[in-house]
Symmetry: C2
Subunit: 228 residues, 2 copies
DNA sequence: ACATAAGGATCGTTGAACAATTCGACAAGG
DNA sequence: CCTTGTCGAATTGTTCAACGATCCTTATGT
């Protein structure tokens, strides 16, 4: 019986998981990800508080949460705004990706088969969505691909960093007017990268990743600089 | 004159730097770093609010800030506690360090001389503090050494990640009963690592770093497991 | 056209209040 | 003796109303 009780401890995390502020943050996070709130838009404490039926204090806690995820920007005495990423931000995000995903590739030698299965799933999902012209979903699957790739590092903190990073990148994706043109080319390249990893050609995969990220960054920066 | 004005922009960050919640967070962060609050200790909203003369709402915002830095742990309806790191946490922190600092070493080829100067400063400061038996300061200087080493990546986001990581590690340092035994051996090794970098022997530096981090992690884990 | 001042809107912070939850103590029952 | 149910104190979660501080806009005067 002691064993059965001991197993319950795995579920302990789920107990603390529901304060109003966190649920509000979840809602706002989704709204930002889906583009309902656009970058640069100001989020009024009063308006949103009234709309969601929570007090200003609770809403402010939710804002604080999303601010630390860099999805919102908090300007003193001026309110919170949906983050606007600069070209420099994009460059920085890709510097981090090269570091984390590059290390993930090098860790692929001693990764579990379950970790590879997760990556394979994401690739398959992207291919399926691409066949069915669901380009928004292709983008989501691509993001999952890179999230699972980064997970090869085996570090929960790097997973968290990666999740935040990809959430930030999603802010930029919404600026792209043509989602297909941006996401489509990377579907076969994800497949390619996966096969290099599974066949153990680590150095080759590392070089492919560098080119991959370089191309993706270039596309994003080009979509940004025109207005400068 | 334009140059003088341009230089002022570096201080711009500090302007927005003054909400009460953030200042409270700064105070608590320092207190935690110096060991005034010990891991596992509960921080009462009422007691601390009264002591600092701020309202509960403001204090709770400060708690949120530190919670996202993983210095405090927030348990629903039970309050906030100074974070207690497990052996698994230590292992995870060192996984991240290997990734970030390892990448930093590889970036050292095209790093500015100013970046190297910052590292050299930290090494010199550690040596000075060691000569004067200020072992707490040696630890602080060692942390600065690694912070500046990570800065070779040239990414503000990785800098931020590294700052949080090192703040978490400081939580563990306070568990060590003999700070000298833990910090002293690494002072000459920092010097060694710096010289490898400055002479361009990157691969060698990478291997030295791996050993370095492996040794440091082992020391910490040993200090942890006895009580298990 | 420009600087200045007034006004309105919004944020930052406080203090109080009440509901919800936790925790320890103590009594009842097996 | 151990377990279980219940109560009450203490603490947190959340809301609300209020006031000063700050920013933005607009009107005013030169």
């Amino acid at each position: 019986m002691d064993n059965a009780v001991a197993e319950l401890e795995h579920d302990r995390d789920r107990l603390g998981r529901s304060s109003t502020a966190e649920r509000v943050a979840d809602i706002l996070r989704d709204r930002i990800a889906e583009g309902f709130f656009t970058p640069g838009q100001r989020l009024s404490e009063e308006a949103i508080g009234a709309a969601l039926g929570v007090s200003r204090n609770t809403l402010r806690e939710a804002f604080r949460l999303l601010g630390h995820e860099r999805l919102l920007e908090h300007r003193l005495n001026r309110g919170v705004f949906v983050r606007v990423l600069s070209a420099e931000d994009v460059a920085d995000l890709y510097r981090v990706r090269r570091v984390i995903e590059g290390a993930a590739v090098r860790h692929s030698r001693d990764a579990s088969s379950a970790a590879f299965a997760a990556i394979r799933d994401a690739v398959a999902e992207a291919e399926r969505a691409a066949r069915e012209d669901r380009w928004q979903d292709v983008g989501t699957a691509n993001i999952r691909f890179h999230q699972n790739l980064a997970a090869l590092n085996g570090s929960s903190r790097l997973d968290e960093t990666m999740r935040q990073l990809l959430a930030e990148l999603r802010l930029v994706f919404h600026v792209m007017d043509n989602p297909r043109a941006f996401h489509e080319p990377f579907v076969p390249r994800n497949r390619e990268l996966l096969e290099l990893l599974e066949s153990g050609r680590v150095e080759e995969a590392g070089r492919a990743l560098e080119v991959y990220l370089g191309d993706a960054e270039k596309l994003l920066v080009q979509a940004y600089t025109p207005r400068a």
